[in-house]
Symmetry: C2
Subunit: 412 residues, 2 copies
């Protein structure tokens, strides 16, 4: 059996071109949600969607959809593809963008082949997936499935004091369409793995059957500011040292427990943040993940217990704010099987796997059958300029997506 | 024997009035060196110096002097009093300001009494003592004694990217006089203790005979940014966790060694500082102090050894930048004895002690006999709005300074 293929040159050129948008003067890539640089990325994507003959739909939370529908399938729930184009700070070029641009590529290929889908096909770029500027992450897809009211999401205050709604309006991406108006029949998200498993196993395709649960907390520890020279060590109430214990404790605990859990203290801020003053306050975040809900809850409880010990031993006070909490997600078994079958038919080794990262697919899974396709990440690195996936792997993943879409959207 | 006294009401009013300058809308006091709020404080001080009939001298590094000289002592080295009026962030009202305003008060009292000093008496407010905005701290007095070239000090880049020289010019305190032109015959600095010793011993006066050595370092730890969800704990190179080890190690080490050393990690910054990204970089400061030079060097070496262990165990790289280094200082024995004698004559209990904080006196001690007088700090707290010294203690300290000045500047 011979297989059709997506246009590899066009897909790779699109990825490179989008990856050039949002570079600072040191060449670092940053497109935070609803920022000036992300607006440039959005504008480019919309131009490509329009050039491909798709209907461009922008909803109130700024989600962008490129919709391919015909007279005889208009109004039916769409097979939805996609991901996001916002990035972390100093990012790589594949995370999110690959899924959006491969979705566009698959639609262009099918149109060029004269494929007549039984239902509309849409490619989506969801707002604020990364959550760097506005918390929680995956906010656009969360709004799409009705997990948070649109007004509440628009009122989200970012790390820079802006609100998402005003920033979307400022960059011209506060659309008029009600979020969720475009109903998915099913959702397939193609993404780089962002972890080391596929590369280590020399496996080009991952059929993602489930996704880790995620717990995000902001922790504020208050001690007593005091002079760094005159306050004996035993008389201190140092918020910074109390904060330092948390990340190290979590690492030790997870190592002892031998669980697949991960814990990250990714942000940290001291007050008053002066060389010669004992920190009165430390504000930091904890990101906990585990594919098993019971184990994730146990990890949260263990952290809470350690915070109680820290309060008792350091004399500090602790405030915990829950920023985001998502239970582990199980993807649609039938779509996972279509991914496996499609990879196998192309002679591509495929393994079922768990996603360690959060993805928009986990939100859409609340309202429609959903699954994900992973391709290898070199050295497992992501959220970093060294993020890389070999062109052959990018093309192979997009071709598997092409086949999956053909099967799901094809006429019976 | 009856004693003359400074004007207690005037001194306390001056302290309160200066302490009201630099409040933000939440009432927090911050007068960082050469800032807009510190300019307001400087303007007020200069007005008071002029109203007291003193010659106001401002040098190129922004040090302010109020000079009392007469026809028959003009040109002789001056007995210098003083301290600083810049503050940390969210500060108390006594640190530094008390020494400057008590110096002014002593001069005003002596003038009102018709005292005829054998030599000029000057009160100094040295620039950037706190070192919060510009490093190193005690920069104005360091320049005064020739410890750093004026041009180099003026070129210092602050935490906000400004240079000290341009900020001094902007606020109108880049004077024309060469730093060091005003030669001290001796220097006496009255200051709050900023520690718990005097209060604990119910002792109103400290005769400070020496001062801890200070070592300031900035440490940059570089790891690898990576996705917080997909990177197994064992495969991480987390700059934030590596940084967390440093402060905790130093605390444990000092507790084991039973030394009077103190160590503080007062500032901390992560990059990229995102919830879901493993920190690629942690930048923080370490403040080490000990009254014994050999022990301070040993502590620095211990820290260097721990950093080597962290490099080996965490897979990070470490860059260390020395920000400031001052050896322990021994103050002038004769002035310390005059302080003791003066306190004793007023029936005030006095103890010899070590200063845990850095002070301008340690700089002036390089070129002239110098010593300090301490008064109690409630709960030992400083660099904090709760910083407090009882009015009776403030007045007692100023009266001891009055007596010390009378003896040192009196005619033989």
């Amino acid at each position: 059996m011979s297989h059709s293929s997506i246009n590899a040159g066009r897909l790779l050129a699109h990825i490179d071109e989008l990856g050039a948008i949002g570079r600072d003067d040191q060449g670092r890539l940053t497109r935070l949600a609803a920022s000036d640089t992300e607006k440039q990325g959005r504008d480019r994507l919309v131009a490509w969607l329009e050039a491909a003959g798709l209907d461009v739909v922008i909803d109130r939370i700024g989600n962008i959809f490129g919709l391919w529908q015909s007279e005889d399938n208009a109004g039916l729930p769409a097979l939805m593809l996609g991901s996001h184009i916002d990035t972390v700070i100093n990012a790589g070029i594949y995370d999110g963008c690959y899924g959006v641009l491969a979705g566009l590529e698959v639609i262009e290929t099918l149109r060029e082949q004269g494929f007549a889908p039984a239902r509309p096909i849409a490619v989506a770029a969801f707002t604020n997936e990364e959550g760097v500027r506005y918390a929680p992450d995956m906010l656009g897809s969360l709004v799409h499935v009705g997990g948070i009211a649109t007004e509440a999401a628009l009122a989200t205050v970012g790390t820079d004091g802006t609100t998402l709604g005003s920033e979307l309006a400022r960059i011209g991406y506060a659309g008029a369409v009600a979020p969720g108006a475009l109903k998915p029949h099913a959702y397939v998200e193609l993404h780089i793995e962002q972890g080391p498993v596929l590369e280590r196993d020399a496996t080009p395709i991952g059929a993602v059957e489930n996704l880790q649960g995620i717990s995000w907390q902001r922790i504020i520890i208050d001690g007593v500011a005091n002079h760094a020279g005159t306050t004996p060590m035993a008389m201190r109430c140092d918020a910074g040292l109390a904060a330092a214990r948390v990340g190290l404790f979590l690492r030790d605990h997870i190592a002892r427990s031998n669980a697949p859990s991960v814990a990250t203290v990714g942000t940290m801020r001291f007050e008053p943040d002066a060389i010669n003053v004992i920190p009165s306050r430390a504000v930091f975040t904890v990101d906990l993940r585990d594919p098993d809900e019971e184990r994730l809850q146990a990890l949260e409880n263990t952290l809470a217990g350690e915070l109680r010990r820290i309060i008792a031993e350091e004399g500090v006070t602790v405030t915990v704010e829950r920023l985001a909490r998502f239970e582990p997600v199980t993807f649609d078994r039938a779509i996972v099987e279509v991914i496996e079958t499609s990879a196998s038919a192309r002679g591509l080794k495929c393994r079922r796997m768990t996603s360690g990262a959060g993805h928009d697919a986990q939100m859409i899974a609340r309202i429609a059958p959903a699954a994900m396709i992973f391709v290898p990440s070199r050295d497992g690195i992501s959220h970093n300029p060294r993020e890389h996936t070999a062109p052959a792997d990018l093309v192979a993943g997009a071709n598997v997506l092409l086949d999956v879409v053909s099967k799901i959207a094809g006429r019976p």
